[in-house]
Symmetry: D2
Subunit: 139 residues, 4 copies
């Protein structure tokens, strides 16, 4: 069901077309694209660090949702209208590195609903944030 696979560059080019300026400014980088799966790098900017000295959870949830839109776009071969139905995030470990990796995987793509999973890991490979999500495919 997957169309021609998008490249990291072609998926990267979608970011400024799809997302809100607040998300575009996160400077997520598409590193790898597989069918229904993307790997992004995310800089942990000083702006995301709260009083506890670690990355705020809000930035992690924002990255997770954004990565899943890109994984579904990769799966569909192009961006199509979609909306997040729900997103559940678990915070396993604090993030104190200056960069994280965000991997989003489509677990199932149905006609109107899609399910996915997102792992956010620190550079040492430790899983820091784990999310699961449901999307509605609108067209």
């Amino acid at each position: 069901m997957t169309q021609a696979l998008m490249t990291p560059a072609s998926l990267q080019a979608k970011i400024p077309e799809i997302f809100a300026p607040w998300i575009i400014a996160m400077d997520l980088r598409v590193i790898e694209v597989l069918p229904g799966e993307v790997l992004l790098s995310m800089p942990v900017k000083a702006d995301y660090v709260h009083v506890g000295g670690v990355m705020c959870g809000q930035a992690a949830m924002a990255a997770a949702d954004t990565a899943m839109v890109l994984a579904l776009t990769a799966e569909l071969g192009e961006f199509k209208p979609m909306t997040t139905v729900q997103l559940q995030t678990s915070f396993l470990r604090p993030i104190s590195s200056d960069q994280v990796l965000v991997r989003a995987t489509v677990l199932r793509r149905g006609k109107s609903l899609a399910f996915g999973s997102i792992d956010i890991s620190s550079p040492d490979g430790k899983l820091a944030v784990q999310a699961t999500t449901t999307y509605a495919l609108l067209a």
Copy 2:
């Protein structure tokens, strides 16, 4: 168990002390404080609007998490170290208004864990986003 109730002004003053600059810049306003409950207003800035013309879900999740920290601070009578364990958000309706109301309620405050619920509504009173969350109280 609740100490002297915080006022909207005293809770508002905590925002720049607690949160990451990225969250402080959201300009959330504390409107009402009750024991274990806060009501915030949130401006839907152009920066949060994505290609679909509505507020991005990432901004809603960020507001939900932030509001719960404030509700727990109100419940505790002061800010104490805490961390989000998990946050589940459901997106019921798109948000196209230029402001939303965010109500966070502590459902249960135990010794080391607290549970809460967050409702984000448009000015016409319709529930747009509903979240539930678990926090770990660290001190």
Copy 3:
């Protein structure tokens, strides 16, 4: 959009028609029916109690899901095919009473998706289990 309101008796009569025998055997009782909302009583049978001496979480999740099907049936005025998309349950307090109350509320009923919330409380009124859920309406 709601059709003629179902009564507790008419909704009770649906239970053996809709659910699996394993769920029918839970002996849930419909106490109250409002538009998009039902209140059930649930006996905490010895079969549901685990080594810790309290009701197992599995029984709470089963009751939550079942109650939401009934709330949606009440909302629709009749049973129609539907399926649970996701259900998130938080366990706030252990249940050691011999009965609990289960209240399920439809938060939003769209064309193809519905969202709901379920509270399970002990007889003293304390919230013990809180769940939120998304359903797909299939017809």
Copy 4:
């Protein structure tokens, strides 16, 4: 941190000691034990099948929660008191087979909290149900 690895037989023997009779009667079988990971088989009894002709979601949630207790017991090397804090389940595909496989994995085991993931698959290997969960370790 893991003690001597439990065998499928030793973990199987824990089931009647730990769980409620309602869960013991599900006849889950421990097939494989790895550190922080277990694989179970679950018979899809006629009792779990609802009017739609497929396994009810309640049975899937019950199996997921049960499997995670066993995975944590395997991780700890023995059963210790624990309680489910939250469990989020997504239903990706209906289950019409007469058996499913349930794999539970500990994603992180901290001092007081543990996080896990559970996959329920049909015999053809297709992922049918996906759950994530947080547990509190009480001792």
